[in-house]
Every structure is written in structure tokens, then in C-alpha cells.
């Protein structure tokens, strides 16, 4: 992207204040948030032109665009935190799968519409309360990004919640599909709120929300939506898959990056 705009100085000033170790942790963490919204946004963009009806095709493209907007703000901040001259584009297009820090949930394939909805709902049910808390971070940049994104995440959560209800309380076929989607994706939900060493350190420093504090709101909304959808509550103790936030990914991420990074890999430095 052309550097038509720049961050305001108030937002850039805080950077210098962090000790090197914290700055490095924050870099890793902001990268994780950026990777998460990039990969989920990319997955949703794969639906463009293939949605079940026009309005929902547009809805997924809109949500993808919101997530990509959040992604750009986050990568720009990550690039500044790193301070090695890499740009937002370098971070998105020139890192390998093992360097990506997104949780496994968001890289899971779109599957059918029910699988996409359940993946989105599990993510939104974390993303929205998370951003609400992140708004109060003492890190002004993260707080500003959250303040902007939380308004959009509210629309996303409303949309995915309503679709879980429509499908669950819909036809036998839609119910079967949403049940299968929950059975296959539930195992990825816990990773969202299980802190890594980096996250624990930043939580201890008070820079990012404590995920345990998000759990009551998340559990309440999940229970409400599943009840309205006449769907059973998934078992609390289940075999959970994790590792994406530390670079251990499913094979799916490699395929996503191959497509997403192709142009920059084939024609380094190409611009529009």
C-alpha cells in the first residue's frame, strides 16, 4: 500500500516507553491478532461469489473486509513495534506458515455454510467481549484499534448468532449440518482463551485482557444461542486441539498462504 497516510504522533509516542523484552512480546502478540483476523478474513473472502444467497454472500464479504481493516491496523503497529524496517505487507506476504500465530480455529476450511457459521460464531463470541476489554488497554494503539473494531465485531456476533439459531432450529437438514459443524469445530474453541507464555506475560503486565474474565460473558451468550437454536451444549471437557498461536498449524494454513502470498512470492515487491 502507498504511504498516503501515517499514524498520529500521539499513537506512536508510547512505543519508546516499553522495555525491549515487553516490546518483543507485544510484537509477537499483535502479530498473533493480525494473523488471526487476516486468516479468518481470507477464509471468508473465499465465499465471495459462492454464498447461498446474495445477501449472505455480501455479509461474508463485508465481515471479511472488516477483519482485513483490523488486520492492517494491527500489522502496521506490529511493524513499528518490531522496528526492523519491515512493512505491513512484508509481515502478511513474506512469512512462512510456522511464523504465523493464528489459532487453529480460523484456518479450518469453510466446509458448508453451517461449518463457516459455527467457526464464525465461536470466533465472534470471543472476539466481541475480548475487544470490549481491549478498549481499556493502557496501550493506546491497541485500545484505539479495539475501539474501532468492537463496533464491527458486534454486527458479526449478531449475524453469526442468528444464523446458528436459524440453522439449529430450522429444517432437519440444516440442523444435522450445524450439529456436525459443532462436533468438528468445538475442539478448536478452547485455544482462543488458553493463554500462551507470551499472553500470560502481557496479561500479568496488565496490557491485554485476562481471558478468564471473559469466560462468564462468553459462556452466557453461547448457552443463550444454543438454547434458542434447540441445540445441545457441547461437553465442557473435550479433546482440545491447540498450537496455532505458537506456530504449530494444521496443513490447511500452508494452502491458504500459498494462494494469499503467491503474487508477492512470484513477483517480489510488485505494487498495484
Amino acid at each position: 500500500m502507498l504511504p498516503v497516510m501515517q499514524a498520529s504522533p500521539a499513537e506512536s509516542a508510547a512505543l519508546a516507553a516499553y522495555p525491549a523484552a515487553v516490546r518483543q512480546q507485544l510484537f509477537q502478540y499483535v502479530l498473533q491478532l493480525a494473523d488471526t483476523s487476516l486468516i479468518l478474513g481470507h477464509r471468508l473472502s473465499e465465499w465471495c461469489g459462492h454464498g447461498p444467497i446474495l445477501e449472505q454472500d455480501l455479509a461474508m464479504a463485508n465481515i471479511a473486509l472488516d477483519l482485513l481493516g483490523e488486520t492492517r491496523s494491527l500489522y502496521q503497529y506490529a511493524a513499528e513495534l518490531e522496528g526492523q524496517g519491515r512493512t505491513e505487507d512484508d509481515l502478511a506476504y513474506l512469512r512462512a506458515a510456522v511464523e504465523y500465530r493464528n489459532p487453529l480455529l480460523v484456518e479450518q476450511p469453510n466446509g458448508d455454510f453451517a461449518a463457516t457459521i459455527v467457526r464464525q460464531f465461536l470466533f465472534d463470541n470471543f472476539h466481541y467481549p475480548f475487544l470490549q476489554q481491549l478498549k481499556s488497554s493502557p496501550d493506546e494503539r491497541l485500545a484505539g484499534i479495539a475501539e474501532k473494531a468492537v463496533k464491527e465485531a458486534a454486527y458479526h456476533l449478531k449475524w453469526s448468532s442468528e444464523w446458528v439459531i436459524r440453522l439449529g432450529d430450522g429444517t432437519p437438514e440444516s440442523r444435522l449440518r450445524v450439529e456436525k459443524a459443532i462436533a468438528s469445530l468445538w475442539r478448536y474453541a478452547a485455544e482462543l482463551t488458553t493463554p500462551t507464555a507470551t499472553e500470560k506475560a502481557l496479561q500479568a503486565a496488565g496490557l491485554i485482557p485476562d481471558y478468564a474474565a471473559l469466560q462468564p460473558a462468553m459462556a452466557a451468550h453461547l448457552a443463550h444461542v444454543l438454547q434458542e437454536a434447540t441445540l445441545p451444549t457441547p461437553p465442557a471437557a473435550t479433546f482440545a486441539l491447540a498450537g496455532g498461536k505458537e506456530g504449530r498449524h494444521s496443513e490447511h494454513l500452508g494452502y491458504i498462504l500459498t494462494e494469499l502470498q503467491y503474487v508477492q512470492r512470484a513477483y517480489p515487491g510488485l505494487t498495484w
Partner: protein
């Protein structure tokens, strides 16, 4: 060009810059100026140097770079080359910043303007919709939400139950 340069030989003022910015239109809703939209958050003039702070309506608004370029071009046309445009995320843009004139222009253009006081709070009221949105065509309040997501990030799709016309609603935010 020379004429314009001469005309601008008097010192630059913030007022002059605000006037010029009112001539820069939103590329996606070209009846609204960026001032009507409320996305210009500050203008500073220090000697020859102009700084303009703008804020996006939505994080992913693809128009932001175009708007920044249009601001540069408009000021350049007045012989003002030293312009810094800064992207300010906080405080986050809200439809409350849209001017009354902007709302009237929107409705005349066929897009229902945001209804005050319906911002984010009610969104998790599942299957609920914003309070009555007036049809910009026949002015009926008897309308229904088709989708929260419309042709651009800032709009929702509605339909009028009286004249049956579909229309865009600039959603409250």
C-alpha cells in the same frame, strides 16, 4: 495555475483548508463531502505546512486511500503542496458526527440516513432491528431490514413494505 498561486500568496489559514475540504467528496457516496460525513477530525496550519487528521468510518473502508489522495489533489490545485494526512483511529468515528446537511443530502440521494440513538447498544438484541427507518423514496416508516450488510461496509439493506422499493440504510454506528 499561476493565477491560483498568486491568489494564495496571502498566509494559509485553517479556515481556508476547511473550506477546501468541504469540496472533497466521499468516493462511495458522492453527494457527501468528507465534512458532511464527519471524518475530518482536525486541521492544523503551521506556516506552509498543513496537517489533516482523518478517521475511517469502518476499519476496512477501502475509500480511505482515495480520500487521502483526493485531499492532496484538492489542496495541490490551490498551490498547497506540503500536506500531511494522518489516520486517527481514536476516538472511533460515529454516525453522530454526520452533519444535518449530510443527512438531508443522503436521503435526497436515496439512502436512508442513520437514525439517532440506535448505535451499537441494541445490536445483540438477536433478530431485532433498528427503530423505524424511513423509506427515502415514499417516506413511509413501514420498512423492514433485509440484511445488516449491504453494498458497502457502512450500509445495511432495507425494503419498504409500502412502496416495495429496496433501499440502502446508512447504518448507525
Amino acid at each position: 495555475m499561476m493565477e491560483k498561486l498568486t491568489a494564495n500568496s496571502q498566509p494559509l489559514t485553517a479556515e481556508k483548508i476547511w473550506e477546501l475540504l468541504d469540496e472533497v467528496l466521499d468516493p462511495e457516496v458522492p453527494v457527501l463531502s468528507i465534512l458532511d460525513l464527519g471524518i475530518v477530525r482536525g486541521v492544523r496550519v503551521a506556516g506552509e505546512q498543513v496537517t489533516v487528521d482523518i478517521t475511517p468510518t469502518y476499519s476496512g473502508c477501502p475509500a480511505m486511500n482515495t480520500i487521502a489522495t483526493d485531499i492532496r489533489l484538492r489542496l495541490l490545485a490551490e498551490g498547497i503542496p506540503n500536506v500531511t494526512i494522518r489516520n486517527q483511529l481514536s476516538p472511533a468515528w460515529t454516525t453522530d458526527w454526520m452533519t444535518p446537511a449530510g443527512r438531508q443530502k443522503l436521503e435526497a440521494y436515496g439512502i436512508a440516513p442513520p437514525v439517532d440513538g440506535t448505535a451499537t447498544g441494541h445490536l445483540l438484541n438477536l433478530f431485532g432491528q433498528d427503530t423505524a427507518v424511513r423509506c427515502p423514496h415514499c417516506k413511509s416508516d413501514n420498512t423492514r431490514l433485509v440484511s445488516q450488510f449491504g453494498s458497502t461496509a457502512c450500509k445495511a439493506s432495507y425494503q419498504c413494505n409500502d412502496c416495495y422499493e429496496p433501499f440502502d440504510y446508512f447504518k448507525c454506528h
